[in-house]
Amino acid sequence: MAFFISQSLYFIIPLLIVALAGMFSEKSGTVNIALEGLMVMGAFCGTFFINKMQAVGFLENAPQFLLIIALLLAGIGGALFSSLLGFLAINMRANQVIGGTAINLLAGALAVFLARQFQENHAVQISYNKEAFRFKSDFLADVFPNLNYIFFNQAYLTLYIGIIILIISTIVIYKTRFGSRLSACGEHPEAAQSVGINVYRYRWIGVLFSGFLGGIGGLVYALPISVSFEGTVGGYGFLALAVLIFGQWKPLRVFLAAIFFGLFKALSVTFFAFDWINNIIELLPNVPFGTIFRILPYIATMVVLAISSKSSKAPKASGIPFDFKGR
């Protein structure tokens, strides 16, 4: 069970961060199809930095500090990249789907191109040592071995960063003036403009924040699941978009949606670790359980959506360019 929860956190946390990234952009009125590309860019910046620094032994004794710097770089990379979307969607009032698609294409191509250009042997893979970042702490190991395994032994710092991002996002959206104004720009920009809010500025902040979180999410996703980054995040940006819609653009519901999807996703790779599932599989040798467990997260999400999504809570002006005519 501890193994299962520990695995599912590797899926839940990046989905949560990237879906929240999408939320900031869509709340402000810009549809962000580019989450996938922002993740790729963030993961590239982060892993490339870790790769180079681990090679020269920089901060060898303080791996968590190195990880924080890498996460910040990933975020900055994502934010810079998202400015391409911001310029197109906000200033040029162009089609946001086209812009997002272009950024996804560009990020994938650029990550592979840069990796091959700046690595020996033109290798696409950027390898890194993830074990250096694992906590491997014995805290509470005697009293609660399972809690220790999940939160202190196998965990990465990224788990806590994800939770901090969730808390901050919730407070920012619901409890601050900035959050209400941001939502106003996505719901009714003309009304926001009429009371003196600079819609362009808020939309820019929304997109840049989205890029920052998306970049961080990319590295958070790439780090625990592999030993190298190969220029793709396997469609997770699109899954995060689905989680965002599933979560109805609300931070806590997005968290629940990420947990829901992440648990099923983890089940598809760890179902053999459960004795009772193994017993069922032995009883029914002709049933293709592997396929069923792989499909389950997607089917379950669709079923829940079909039941719950009669009234969509999407920001009303999301995807509609705002044209300030100075009235």
């Binding site: 086209i98 698609t101 272009a102 994938g108 033109h122 469609g235 819609i245 599933f246 089917i299 999400t301």
Partner: protein
Amino acid sequence: MSNFNSKIKAYWKKIHKSDGFSALTGALLAIAIGLLVGMVLMIIINPENSMQGIGRLLKGMFNNPRGGWIGLGQMLYRATPIIFTGLAVAFAFKTGLFNIGATGQYTVGIFAALLVGVLGDKLGAFQWIVAVLAGMGAGFIWGAIPGIFKARYNVHEVITSIMFNYIGMYLVNGLLNSNSLKTLVVDGSTNRTVKIDQTARTSYGFFNDLFPNSGLDISILIAIGTAILMYFILNKTVFGRELKSVGLNRDAAKYAGVNEKRSIVLSMAISGMLAGLGGALFILAPSVYNLGTVYPIENVLLNPGFDGIPVALLASSNPIGVIFSTTFVSYIKLAGNSMQGVGFVAEIVEIIIAVIIYFSAFSLIMTQNIGNIKVFIKKFKKKKQKEKPEFKGIDPKAGEK
């Protein structure tokens, strides 16, 4: 004579003002900017070989060692599946839907056609056509699902299509690996599907004489025919107009008597059917040197489904335009491989395509606004004329200098 001139002028004005014209000039402008960015990038990273590299980039299909003519055949062969997925995405766009699920529909199309093509020996001469129809049917169903979810349960089509991409891929791979099918359709040593029966493969038609061993078959003609048919349906039939009206304004269409739920489901289903047809024709292709095409059983979403999105966008979702945009993208993709020979990473081509798509979003706006700028200049001139009546007699064109 002056009558003739004015007719040409009127005709020119009509073309010039049309959406199609601004879409075309916009796309051409975007392509020019994209190529320019690519060239600058190449000069920066490797100035010594840059001229050679740029030459190879522009040569595209002419890089083929067997000559540009064979290169043309190869280019069209590679473009064919993407024309179909591009048409699928474009058709959905035209009806106000974003079909990001073309890759799933393409995959189930491959699967259905594959089953008929390998197991349907008894069909004889009908094996090919049944395989094609099976692929279309599978795509139709897979596309209809997101439509049903949108019409009935109000779930956004993007999320359903994404989910059903994965469901389709895992389901197809799972079925291929299942006990009943594995021994029949999978080659265990390579983990790929076995080749399609010779009788079920698409005919080369006259293309094998025209472009020997380039892989091109009559699928390209089907692709072009489908594009023309889709253009006709969307623009010249009541059915197509209804589908488009739902995309423009769902409530208004409903008020005007269109069954908007049925239209949404049908739009997505037709879009899926096009992607499924692309998958079917891909797997049924006799391929280069008649080796046949196979489907690798890997848990990865297939690329042609996603490649349809940029080509549809570059063509402004015009079905006829998709043929040209796909051909162009295939042209410079062929350059990528041979650019590696002079020390350039092939991904430069992907970067160029991405830049082109990015600027196509811009240029669409720029070209649409050219008209506005002209109106503005005219107004400005009129104001000047009113202020200074003594200039009235002078040819207004003189002011343009």
